[in-house]
């Protein structure tokens, strides 16, 4: 109640008049009442009433926060957070090595950034996640929907159909092996059409459309409350050209990052961004670093860098608050994002290299 007038979210002209009239705290405004206020500072009674309603809403919000009530508050103890984190689901990627280094999969309420050179598999992983977020809970998924914001035009529906078909088949196999009732029921709704209908696709052609879409995203997510994943494929592409003013770009990117963090937290969804690589020219050599500059590096909570080693694709966990830095290999198959197949364990004599203590099988014992 002792809040200063200058900090209230009123129109600037109104604030200037209140300051000129000598009002200092919110309590003074509430005590004066709308008629008195309108006479003193020379505005209409309706405007005064509106202003007082804003002040009252602000002060009630303040009071609720100071009294420690929950609701829109963002305060809790670490124990509550621990309980929340332990029951929270992860979005699996179908590559168990990648899930392991991420600590279970892509985490909800966090921003994950995937950087890599062109063609290394960033969009493939995004499409895989858009399908995997919809896996029913009885199969270990989060049973959510996905929003896919595409700035590069690399979203291929036919590829998503392939990935979704493989995922559905995988779940069918599990259900057949385990024969449980809720598995069968979940599979009725987990069909190809349902999966495709729950991927909400937006094609943003430049950075203004991207900004506009992110401003409208909270409203969209409130209407579609089952969304658990927001993918922005190509956050770098619209910001890498037509920008003479780099400070404007940094400001817009920071604003974007803040809004995405709020969206991730409020709607309990994972935000996945893909970034491009750019060449940083040093004194003696040039290195590939993630694009959009150093300050953008602070936006994402978890950073994955995809790169090549000869013909093997590797993923490195570059930045994470809870997992250690490590590199794994992955594969992109016709079914989607997968592990690299481990070397096959054969029953012939070569297999004994794995375990030198075992007696080598002779040719007669082989079938």
């Amino acid at each position: 109640m002792q809040r200063e007038v200058g900090t209230l979210p009123l129109a600037p002209a109104l604030r200037a008049r209140l300051a000129a009239a000598g009002f200092q705290t919110a309590q003074e405004l509430l005590d004066t009442g709308p008629c008195g206020l309108s006479k003193e500072i020379g505005i209409s009674r309706e405007e005064a009433l509106e202003a007082l309603q804003v002040v009252r809403q602000e002060c009630h919000g303040d009071a609720a926060r100071t009294a420690g009530e929950s609701g829109a508050t963002r305060k809790c103890t670490a124990l509550e957070l621990l309980e929340e984190e332990q029951t929270q689901g992860f979005i699996i990627t179908f590559c168990s090595a990648l899930d392991n280094i991420l600590g279970g999969g892509v985490q909800l309420t966090k921003i994950t950034e995937i950087c890599g050179a062109p063609g290394v598999g960033k969009t493939q992983l995004c499409m895989q996640l858009a399908v995997d977020v919809q896996i029913p809970e009885c199969f270990g998924g989060v049973a959510g929907e996905a929003v896919f914001i595409d700035t590069e035009g690399s979203f291929m529906v036919d590829r998503v159909v392939d990935i979704a078909a493989a995922c559905v088949q995988h779940c069918h196999l599990i259900a057949e092996a385990q024969q449980e009732e809720d598995h069968r029921k979940a599979l009725e709704t987990f069909s190809l059409e349902n999966i495709l209908s729950h991927i909400y696709y937006f094609r943003c052609r430049d950075y203004i459309e991207l900004l506009a879409q992110v401003y409208l995203l909270p409203e969209f997510l409130s209407e579609h409350s089952k969304v658990r994943l927001v993918v922005i494929d190509g956050i770098a592409f619209p910001f890498r050209h037509d920008f003479e003013d780099l400070s404007l770009r940094t400001r817009l990117l920071n604003g974007l990052a803040q809004q995405l963090i709020i969206i991730a937290n409020d709607h309990k969804s994972a935000v996945v961004l893909t970034n491009q690589m750019t060449t940083r020219i040093g004194q003696s050599q040039s290195t590939l670093v993630p694009a959009l500059g150093e300050s953008w590096g602070h936006a994402a909570t978890v950073r994955l860098i995809f790169h090549w080693d000869n013909s093997q694709r590797l993923a490195t966990l570059y930045k994470s608050p809870s997992q250690k830095e490590s590199t794994i290999a992955y594969h992109i198959t016709s079914h989607g994002f997968r592990d690299v197949q481990p070397p096959a364990v054969t029953h012939s004599a070569e297999g004994t290299e794995m375990n030198p203590r075992k007696r080598p099988r002779t040719e007669e014992e082989k079938q």
């Binding site: 979210p9 202003a51 937006f202 943003c204 203004i208 459309e209 506009a212 592409f237």
Partner: protein, 284 residues
Amino acid sequence: MAAKKLRRAQLSQEMCERLSRYQITTCQDFLCLSLLELMKVTGQSYYEVQKLLCKVSRACAPKMQTAYEMKLRKSVNPSSAFLSTTLHSLDRVLHGGVPCGSLTEITSPPGCGKTQFCIMVSVLATLPVSMGGLDGAVIYIDTESAFSAERLIEIAANRFPAYFDSDEKLFCMTRSIHLYRELTCCSVLKRIMSLEEEIISKKVKLIIIDSVASVVRKEFDTKLQGNLAERSNFLTRGASVLKYLAEEFSIPVILTNQITTSLSSVPAIQADLVSPADDLSLSE
């Protein structure tokens, strides 16, 4: 979309006038400001400004479609999704041919046949749909002056002798291939920007740019200061306009590129072979 005037974003007349006094006339100017700046400029309270922001965003934001709707739209007209190259093994690997609605890049060392391929595909695009073509005109942007009209006629007459049996048919085909010779990056970009109207008026069904690399390498030397940024600026601008044209009109766009030597210690990127039998996930 960005240059959309605020008047058309359904803001009130007086608000538009007030904003124009601060030189804010388009949606782009409006959305680039922070909330506090907007409050100062519009003179409204915090909550009002958020509502205005949502209004302006709605005017700019793209329309939502589900992946299912996209798939249905594609399956309605499957034949128009690809331009067959008539090379059967290539078509098989590409799952049908050169895809419509996206950019395809062809690169090779000099002399391998990029320009020949482009000339052949131009002929194919002018053929009627019953013969596997797109029945439309072709825009050919030539930066190396390598296009030969005589070679075009030779290919057409020898490849499809039954169809091009008269001179009349040949001339009809050549009339629908529009050739533009551009020799600088700037003119290439200007030409790409002007293509939208040409596509509609001339009923164009294929865009070929041969080649992007030659103009870029002539004008930008990456060892010089600042050239790298300008070059990527030019390339991404061109790419985004071409992507827009390809998607908007559902036509294929073919670009050719050249080979360069990568001198870094990092080994060159090689293609990854798709493994045919992935039983790992099924055996879990």
